[in-house]
Amino acid sequence: MSLEKTRLRLGIVPLIDAAPLVAAKERGFFAMQGLEVEISREASWANIRDKVALGVLDGAHMLATMPLSASLGLGAIREKMVAAMGLNTGGNAITLSNALWERMAEADPAAMTRRPVTARALKTVIEEDRRQGRPPMTFAVVYPVSPHMLELRYWMASAGIDTERDLRLVVVPPPQMVAQLSAGNIDGYCVGEPWNSLAVSLGLGRVAITSRELWAGRVEKVFGVTESWARTHPQTHKAVLKALIQAACWCDENRGELAEILAQPAYVNAPAEVVRASLLGRFRYEFGGPEEDIPDFLLFHRHGANFPWRSQALWFLRQMARWRQLPPGVDMGRTMEEAYRPDLYRMAALELGLAVPTTDSKTEGTHAGLWTLTQASAPLEMGPDLFFDGSVFDPAAASQTSLPPGEEAAGA
């Protein structure tokens, strides 16, 4: 079948997890599918959303929450968007300023030495500040409706911190995070790499917890297009997906070479050493600390990373509701099914001869190590999927309990 369109403009935000798009262009995976792709570097997630919605871009590297939030029109023009594949799992971390870390270590030494580090000590520090009448601390994320926002709030809330009352949450573009931390304008942040490792390597902050520990195997960025584009360009969409899946495989296997490509000014524009370390999963939590090997810190393809799990979309929606980011009366099940499209992923991946899950959802939080997914066209090796607090997310049970509008999801 012939392609509806061969010349495409795809948007990226200059981050390490734009890698599959960059590699597909630089290593010829788009060309192999008969596509001529121009990569457009965008300065903000708002640009990505608006340009995809208006058709200025055919598709883009998107926050995993964006197809959901754009489809619901949260704070912007409403445009139905779909994600037929994930671009990566993991890759984020929460970094705290050295000053805050020291206060936490003093307040609750036991809580700070055991990994994964909880926010228990942070709660003690916040309570101390309140008694002293000090202004609340400020934490930053990259976008209001983002996996980063949900990760940071989940981590804090599980220690009993009220993220609306106890602190200020602001949005800072990733390349400005380190400077803002250094200037003392923010006390901590949740961001993707290399902006955590950079703060550590400059001796400005310490990593409290990575997304690998917080919730392993969670989709971070997706490839998103509008629903109408997907409907009118089915063959082109499939060709893009095939190129991106192949590129994602390549990214997992060729990380050194990938680091060279990504570090260039046209892409991430960060020191090659720092980019390489985060791509190789050589992670330092603190300045001068040991280099720890976390091979699955950031995955592009392995362990089903490209499959758009609806269970994860539902988790995002439930957390968005928990933090009152959803308007009342949203049909979460329908939103998730319209925005996350495993059916489209399967069509592309099967043509590449890859094994694909035959189920759209899985129970999250039950595997500490490698396991085999048997609900698949052929057995599929999967990775850990634990939450740091030991909770289990069963999508079937979750979709049966309806949330009263504006009320917190119990336990979540």
């Binding site: 300065a43 903000s44 708002a46 608006d50 200025v56 023009i77 949005v171």
Partner: protein, 192 residues
């Protein structure tokens, strides 16, 4: 009361153009800032109603969040989020303008501000393209002249004959005149 506007633009010349045009229309420009100037505090401090942002500024994502963190104050939301008019937004995006408007302001009150900004951004873009074109066509003319001179000297022909020869080569080879001129200059350099 006249609407209070903040302009966020890293292109100082364009920012001046936008400011003057807005003031000429009777709007109050309360601040012009580059990216990263701390809009979180500036917007409430200056009581801005409308924020005009260069679409290539990363500050857009910060502005996207202001409706949540400044909930007790003034909450800017992305232009026409409520009654989304894709054609207005498309015109703005094409000109390179993003606009944020304090929640509750009526779209028809804000539209003139956005229209002025979009017009000035588009004009600036037009000026830049024109300047670029003028510069490149001047450079191209110079190259064609030089190549003509080379041909006239080597072939002992008139200027008109040299020009005709180059035009024929361009047509035969389906190339632009300036590309032919470049090849002639390169060949002459090689042959010394």
């Amino acid at each position: 009361m006249s609407l209070r506007v903040i302009v966020v633009d890293d292109e100082p010349d364009r920012a001046v153009l936008v400011r003057e045009a807005l003031e000429a229309e009777g709007f109050t420009v309360v601040g012009v800032f580059p990216t990263g100037a701390g809009l979180m505090t500036k917007v409430p401090e200056l009581q801005a109603d409308v924020i005009i942002v260069d679409i290539d500024s990363p500050d857009r994502d910060t502005l996207e969040d202001m409706r949540r963190v400044t909930f007790e104050q003034r909450r800017p939301v992305v232009m026409f989020a409520q009654d989304g008019k894709p054609e207005t937004i498309r015109a703005a995006v094409e000109a390179g303008v993003a606009a944020y408007v304090v929640d509750g302001l009526k779209a028809e009150r804000v539209k003139p501000v956005v229209d002025v900004a979009v017009a000035r951004f588009a004009q600036f873009q037009g000026l830049r393209t024109e300047l670029h074109k003028a510069k490149s066509s001047l450079a191209e003319r110079k190259l064609v002249e030089k190549a003509k001179g080379i041909l006239m000297q080597r072939r002992q022909c008139s200027e008109e004959e040299a020009y005709k020869l180059m035009r024929k080569m361009a047509m035969d080879q389906k190339a632009r005149l300036v590309d032919i001129a470049n090849r002639i200059i390169e060949a002459a350099d090689l042959l010394g």
